[in-house]
Symmetry: C2
Subunit: 215 residues, 2 copies
DNA sequence: CCGACTTTGTGCAAACGTTCACAAGGGCGT
DNA sequence: ACGCCCTTGTGAACGTTTGCACAAAGTCGG
């Protein structure tokens, strides 16, 4: 139980549920760091992130033993460890396809640039939009997908185009080498194995809310 | 097992995981209806929604027995039943607080109006924005929250304001009578019991993607 | 140096969700 | 009317996630 080649996390996968909460912890940790708080207990951090303290401890234990018993966690050190686990110590160029309202919102989104993400390019198919400047980026033609992905080494793409063309854009992104896709179009994307898709569907969220509101 | 006051669904709650998938099924069903397909098997519908067919059948069984063995499900009938369960047979006025990029995108979002949701009002605190027209709605002052919620009977609110003021807006919405909140601000909202909050955080989704992209 | 106190990290059990596999049950051709 | 075929609905097994409760381990005062 003592000799390991690498950290616990690398040997056996971290549960998906834990991964989904790490960004939440990270955000809470940054808020603490901004207030110059150097150390935090699992109880406090859990409250800030809106979760149970036992869950938080178990989640963090998957990354390793980065706390000090009787004291808590060092904020800066934990920020570094969580960031490293999430792969945020490197820079992630992201290509946004679709410069409509959602694409613009995404390009302008503050939280975007703050955590290692960078808009590599903003693409659209509308000749009236191509060439205009949004959030400091000159909008390029959607036909540039392949060279943008190749030139900038993009692995993450955001799809903010109408539903009917989303699958086509997705196929081109995947063919160009993108392995992770954030899909805002209300369609189920069909992708080959190894490609990761996360969907954000405002309509679905509203419908879930409606269910609860109706009781 | 035969005498019931109401349907199965009302007697014992439908699992949250199932609720979250019903809008997905509904979307697939509408797509089938658009293609004039009258009947569908669990296998086909599951493929269209991107889930396992056993899961789909179990999910639908929570609403009741609306299929026909050996045949499948009647598309229109199932649309009605799922819509009813989600509470989409009624009209839901939604108030959007924050007319920034995200608020505009939301107000312009097509899938918004299509499923029984309606923008009751679009609010902002910026005097330069108040009075302008976005997606057919004249932007009103954020101080009108209380009267908009009261006058229009709003139960659902979307928060697209900066993180620092989100909790304050949330408090006012709740005090005014809103029971369901869609939060786009990157903060954990503190709400009294009985109020339902769903969060959409683009940054969190990207970080999860980064983890998988990094392997 | 020791003992009291605090907080982490984790075994364990319960709750929840998913998937399999098949009996139950309806349609359809004969 | 009957038997075959198809698909639903569901019991049971399995895997994942949560939460409790506590031992392990560190700090700190004396």
């Amino acid at each position: 139980m003592s000799r390991r080649i690498r950290s616990d996390s690398s040997l056996q996968g971290i549960p998906e549920a834990t991964i989904a909460r790490l960004p939440l912890y990270l955000r809470a940790l940054y808020a603490l760091a901004d207030r110059d708080i150097a150390s935090v207990s699992s109880e406090e951090l859990a409250a800030a992130a809106g979760v149970n303290s036992a869950k938080l401890r178990k989640d963090l234990s998957h990354l390793g033993s980065y706390g000090t018993r009787g004291v808590g966690y060092d904020v800066d050190y934990l920020i570094y460890q969580v960031s490293r686990e999430l792969g945020l110590t490197q820079d992630w160029p992201v290509v946004i396809v679709g410069a409509g309202n959602l694409g613009r919102a995404l390009a302008n989104y503050g939280g975007f640039a703050s955590r290692g993400f960078r808009v590599a390019a903003l693409l659209d198919s509308d000749p009236l939009v191509i060439g205009s400047v949004i959030a400091g980026h000159r909008v390029r033609a959607v036909d540039d997908i392949e060279c943008v992905v190749a030139d900038c080494g993009v692995m993450i793409g955001a799809i903010t185009v109408p539903a009917v063309v989303a699958q086509g854009i997705c196929d081109r992104l995947v063919a160009a080498g993108v392995t992770s896709i954030l899909n805002f179009a209300p369609v189920v994307l069909d992708v080959p194995g190894g490609v990761d898709v996360r969907k954000v569907d405002l309509s679905i969220e509203l419908q879930i809310l409606a269910f609860h509101a109706q009781r």
